[in-house]
Amino acid sequence: MATDNLLESLKRCIERGKVNCKSPHPPDMKGQDGADELTRKALDTGIPPQDVLSNALVLGMQHVGERFRNKEIFVPDVLMSAKAMSAAMEHLKPFFKSDALKHRGTIVMGTVLGDLHDIGKKIVSMVIEGAGWEVVDLGTDVSPEKFLTAVDQHPGCVIGLSALLTTTMINMETTIRHVKGKHPGIKIIVGGAPVTQEFANKIGADGYSPDPQGAVEFLNTRCLQN
C-alpha cells in the first residue's frame, strides 16, 4: 500500500473505531486490518512516526471530535475511536520514550475539590491524548495544592479543570488563584456541564470549552510552545 493510502486507511480506522483485524466493528470493515495492524505496517514500511501520528491518528481524532460537536456521533462512538487510537499509540510509545517523537505538550487534568465526577473528564482526556498531547490525570476531588505540585512536576504544562455542579465549580476559582499565584503564566482551561464562558472569564480561566474538541482547539491554538 502506498504511504498516502496507508495513512488514509489508518485515519479511517480511527474515525470508524476499528481497533484491530479481529474486532467485528464496524461491520463493513469486518476482517480488515485495524488501527493496530496498520500502525505497525506504517512504521515497518518506514513512514516516520511523526507522520503516522500527525497525518493519520491526530487527523482522525480531530474529525471524530468535530463530528461529536456537530452531534453526528455520540460519546460511545468517540470512545470506540479512542480505543482504536490507543491501540495505535501502543506502537508509538517506544518513539516517545526515545524522544524520536514528542508530545505537543502536557496537560494536567483533574476534577476539582469536592467533586467526584470522573467520566466527562476522562472522555476529554482521551480526545486530548488523541490530539497528540500528554495527559496527566490527577483524578477527582483534586485540591489546589495537588494541582500546584503537579505543575511543579510538569513545568510548562497546561491545566484542565472539570466540575459537574455549581457548588463545586466554585473551587475552580480557588484552584486558579492558587496555581496562578505561583505560576502566573500558566494556561488553565475549564469545562463541565454547569460551566459557561462567562463563568470562565469571571474566574480568570484562559479557556473554556463545552466539549472535548474545544479543549483540543484551545491547546493547539493557545498553548503550543514550539
Binding site: P26, D77, L79, K83, D115, I119, T168
Partner: protein
C-alpha cells in the same frame, strides 16, 4: 390513608424489575435516533443490561409534610420553618400546593464503581454505557416513587406537580443541605458532602407539590436551559 396533619415518611426498596430499562431506551439515552445505533453499541448494551440488576440496590423514599407546615410564595417556599429560594419558575409550579413531599432516590454505588472499573481497565465504551444505565435507573426509581406518592394521596383528592430538584432552574444545589436537614439522617442511605454532592452519586433528590389544585406542567421543559436534553418534551404547537 395516612394523616395529613402528621408527617408521613416512608422508604421503599423496589426490585430492579420494577424499573423498565431496555436497549431501546438506553440507545435513546446515549443520543441515538431510532434505528441509528451502531450494531456494536446495541450488542454492548445487551451485554451490560443483564449485569446491572445484581449491582443495584434501589432505595427511594418520601416525606410528606403536615398541612400547615408549608407555605409557597413568589420565589420561595418554606417547610417547617426552613426557607428555600427556588426562584420564580419552580415556585410558580408549587404555588397551589396544599403541602409538599420531599424525596430521595438512589440505586447505590455499585454500578457506578463497576463503570469506573470498566473504564480504568480499558473498556471505556462498556463503562460509559453502564454509567448511563445507572443514571437512567435512578431517574426511573424517582418515577416509581412518584407513583407511590400518587397512591398515597389519591384518597385525599390530591394530585402531584412535576418533581423539582435543587440544581435545576434557579434553585441552587447548595440548598440540598436545607432539604437534607428536613429528612432523617442518611435517608435512603444517601449522604451529602459539604459541597452538596450526594453519595452515592447515582442519586436524585427534590420536592413534589401536592394538593387538589396542583397540576403537572407538560410544558415545564420550556423553562429549562438544557436545550439538548433527551427528556425534553416539545411544547405543544401554538394555536
Amino acid at each position: 390513608m395516612g394523616d395529613p396533619l402528621a408527617r408521613e415518611t416512608e422508604v421503599f426498596y423496589p426490585a430492579f424489575s420494577e424499573l423498565t430499562i431496555n436497549r431501546l431506551l438506553l440507545e435513546k439515552v446515549l443520543g441515538y435516533r431510532a434505528g441509528g445505533t451502531p450494531e456494536v453499541i446495541s450488542r454492548l448494551i445487551d451485554e451490560i443490561l443483564p449485569e446491572v440488576p445484581s449491582r443495584t440496590s434501589v432505595q427511594c423514599g418520601f416525606s410528606i409534610l403536615p398541612i400547615g407546615a408549608v407555605s409557597v410564595s413568589r420565589e420561595t417556599f418554606t417547610c417547617d420553618g426552613v426557607q428555600f429560594t427556588t426562584g420564580p419558575i419552580i415556585a410558580k409550579q408549587l404555588r397551589a400546593s396544599t403541602t409538599l413531599a420531599l424525596f430521595v432516590a438512589t440505586i447505590g454505588s455499585q454500578v457506578e464503581q463497576w463503570a469506573r472499573d470498566l473504564i480504568d481497565s480499558g473498556d471505556a465504551v462498556k463503562g460509559y454505557i453502564a454509567d448511563a444505565a445507572a443514571s437512567e435507573a435512578v431517574e426511573q426509581a424517582a418515577d416509581w416513587l412518584e407513583k407511590k406518592v400518587t397512591e398515597r394521596v389519591r384518597d385525599r383528592g390530591w394530585k402531584l406537580t412535576n418533581r423539582y430538584s435543587p440544581g435545576y432552574c434557579d434553585w441552587s444545589v447548595a440548598e440540598q443541605h436545607k432539604l437534607f436537614s428536613l429528612l432523617p439522617e442518611r435517608f435512603c442511605g444517601v449522604e451529602l458532602t459539604p459541597s452538596s454532592l450526594m453519595l452515592p452519586i447515582k442519586s436524585v433528590s427534590g420536592v413534589i407539590g401536592l394538593g387538589p389544585e396542583v397540576k403537572r406542567d407538560p410544558t415545564v421543559c420550556s423553562i429549562c436551559d438544557m436545550k439538548d436534553c433527551f427528556r425534553r418534551q416539545e411544547e405543544p404547537a401554538a394555536t
